[in-house]
Symmetry: D2
Subunit: 244 residues, 4 copies
Amino acid sequence: MVVGVTVWGENVHERTEAHVRAIYPDGMHHTIAAAIADGLGASVSVRTATLDEPDQGLGADVLGGTDVLMWWGHIAHDDVDDALVERIHQRVLSGMGLVALHSAHYAKIFRRLLGTTCSLRWRNSGERELVWTVDPSHPIAAGVPHPIVIDAQEMYGEHFDIPTPDELVFVSSFAGGEVFRGGCCFRRGAGKIFYFSPGDQDYPVYHHPDVRRVLVNAVEWATPTRTDSVDRSQSPPAPSGWFE
Amino acid sequence: MVVGVTVWGENVHERTEAHVRAIYPDGMHHTIAAAIADGLGASVSVRTATLDEPDQGLGADVLGGTDVLMWWGHIAHDDVDDALVERIHQRVLSGMGLVALHSAHYAKIFRRLLGTTCSLRWRNSGERELVWTVDPSHPIAAGVPHPIVIDAQEMYGEHFDIPTPDELVFVSSFAGGEVFRGGCCFRRGAGKIFYFSPGDQDYPVYHHPDVRRVLVNAVEWATPTRTDSVDRSQSPPAPSGWFE
Amino acid sequence: MVVGVTVWGENVHERTEAHVRAIYPDGMHHTIAAAIADGLGASVSVRTATLDEPDQGLGADVLGGTDVLMWWGHIAHDDVDDALVERIHQRVLSGMGLVALHSAHYAKIFRRLLGTTCSLRWRNSGERELVWTVDPSHPIAAGVPHPIVIDAQEMYGEHFDIPTPDELVFVSSFAGGEVFRGGCCFRRGAGKIFYFSPGDQDYPVYHHPDVRRVLVNAVEWATPTRTDSVDRSQSPPAPSGWFE
Amino acid sequence: MVVGVTVWGENVHERTEAHVRAIYPDGMHHTIAAAIADGLGASVSVRTATLDEPDQGLGADVLGGTDVLMWWGHIAHDDVDDALVERIHQRVLSGMGLVALHSAHYAKIFRRLLGTTCSLRWRNSGERELVWTVDPSHPIAAGVPHPIVIDAQEMYGEHFDIPTPDELVFVSSFAGGEVFRGGCCFRRGAGKIFYFSPGDQDYPVYHHPDVRRVLVNAVEWATPTRTDSVDRSQSPPAPSGWFE
């Protein structure tokens, strides 16, 4: 079975800021999509979608054919339609995987799934980030060096206002001394969610081979296994002895 | 410091169904409020609030003075104002405790905090529920018999579509054979949330002394400790070396 | 790669009690081994080992070739050599999977890995056990009916003195009303551990097709992924900047 | 009720190394004990115990009167009697709190309770450690600055081979870039266990007021609540209907 992966990009910084366009001439979403296609080959079908497309890129056909949705947004979170957020939410609860990247900590869909503010501390001064594995058996850490060294990144620091992750995979440190739970798994309904913090638009983070490896692993991990057949859309009555 | 407890009741079944009114002449909210007042005495100030009151019972003054909110709703979940749900949500994330009772699994505020459908299976045939403690050291289980025997209750059964609880305290079984994770703790932002499943309106569950003990324990557990001074309402920049 | 599975059986009840031998003429270990071989075919190499064999069935060659160890013991826990327990312990921490069955809750290796007493309540009166799935997305629940109906089993009830499981998959109820966290995952070092409570020697539980499905799923889940290359046997010094 | 706190110190470095004795003239255990006595006053009765005392400082009377045991050991872990470790283990499972400090990650009692190797990476070059709070509502973080700044400490880095903590309170970063889950809670049986990594003998860490605050908070948190009356020492039979 071919896994449908859709990489959604806000695509604003790339169009409005020359230094971002220099790093990502086709937009971050294309760079990320290429990482997945390179890593998983014929087992996936990768497409991109952006905010400025009809239906904000995620019409019923596209969303219905998406097994794993990757999401990068930052400056235009508020422009995402609430009705679309609702449709994505239901898709995740029904089993679609979600990989939320960097400033997507503040995406409507991420906050809605987690129920918290998802606030954090930040500093954009291009400092070194080290991504340490705290769960070396986790499939998302497979083949990932310990640590990943990212020469320049925006700092994201604690306190990160999320529920306790179901699985904590990576913890980052920054040159300035802060730490951040930057690789976190959550399970909501039948869906698996992975948040990965590296990836500010000002730095070529999604060209980094180790970061790309994490993205590939995350898509594999978040792919629905289709073993979960629970219908969560209703609360059905259960006559006594129905299982006998 | 006196802890402000507000017991919010939907107060519909009690007004429209004689057999419910016979069990709870003043409404379930008054019975629950009395349990808390009896159990915690002068350390708490307990009030009630209902859907049919101005501001649906939870105006700014009331909500602002509430340290722990208890919630019972069922047939009128949809009537609760979205703006009120938003205000309660922010209060919980800022530290207010929430005790969600029985059919409040489908309350807007509960689903919003958890991010899942909170669906389950049910059967209302007045069968025996046994509430077993799986975490005997948990403060909410203090002084609670193992099991609590409730002679007649609505059955709530798995699968219960919630995130994995941060702490699982009680698991119920029913005469018909089903099981249910009926005593679950969640932590969201600075707030503590406890869900407790016993309490259908058709049975005198909130008169049961062991159930009342659980409610009292839950209020004590959910009371904000005020040791958490993180401002989650924003993501502040952090200059390099700010902590030195 | 062929996965090496070893089914260790105490093999005492089967030799000394006629009614057990009638259910398991070749011993429980053979019935369990056949379930795995039937379910996983050429992808596994299944062998059995028993307490009465040289090296208690688990000499260096056998243990070294075992990727997943299944363990059934009851009356002879104390006869297992401490040195063997130590070797199994190290193997699990290095990645070998362990599937502990029924009364293996009291096996030396299980208690050593978990660090608690693993005590529980029990009643052997051949009553119906219902095994409910509380984590329907979990790979060990794949294809398993909700609930599994086991007509006659020994009752195991809470409180079960284990650490909070890393993943809770199944909760059982019994005709007498008790509940039990009977399907629990633990991760220790690089190894995955699954405890599954059905399987008293007095009943033909390991002939039950749904139970066999769980065992097969558990072996697949517990198989080491070999993505974890951490050497846990020592605490190495790390010179400053070693990762640059 | 007065809480009995015993601070166990290995007391080897202090006796054999002048520079350690200069920092802790009476031994680390006395400095730690003074922190607890200063912080909790008449609500606690604090004593010290050392390896070189009769019964290694923890005879039946002392251990029986200890509600919370604090443990610092390093170079002499192997000298601790296995029979004593067994007695401490049973005490913890019965409810005694345990606060394990720094190199006690390798103490027999800690490894026995956790079941893993507890290995880590280290570098003793007197670098700055920052202790960040990731769970600001946790009672052990009450009144603790974010971050605690420790000017000179031994580096402890991931991977730290422990089970996933039941509660993760602090994560440290070091000047060299490493991170460490240095403040972890575990619950085993009726006992609460807190591991706190700061505190190498070569630096005056236990004189640091913020570190002392953590120790005080940890003792309060680990104090048995006496609400847990489960007898874990056996697995009792439960006749059908025993709870009716």
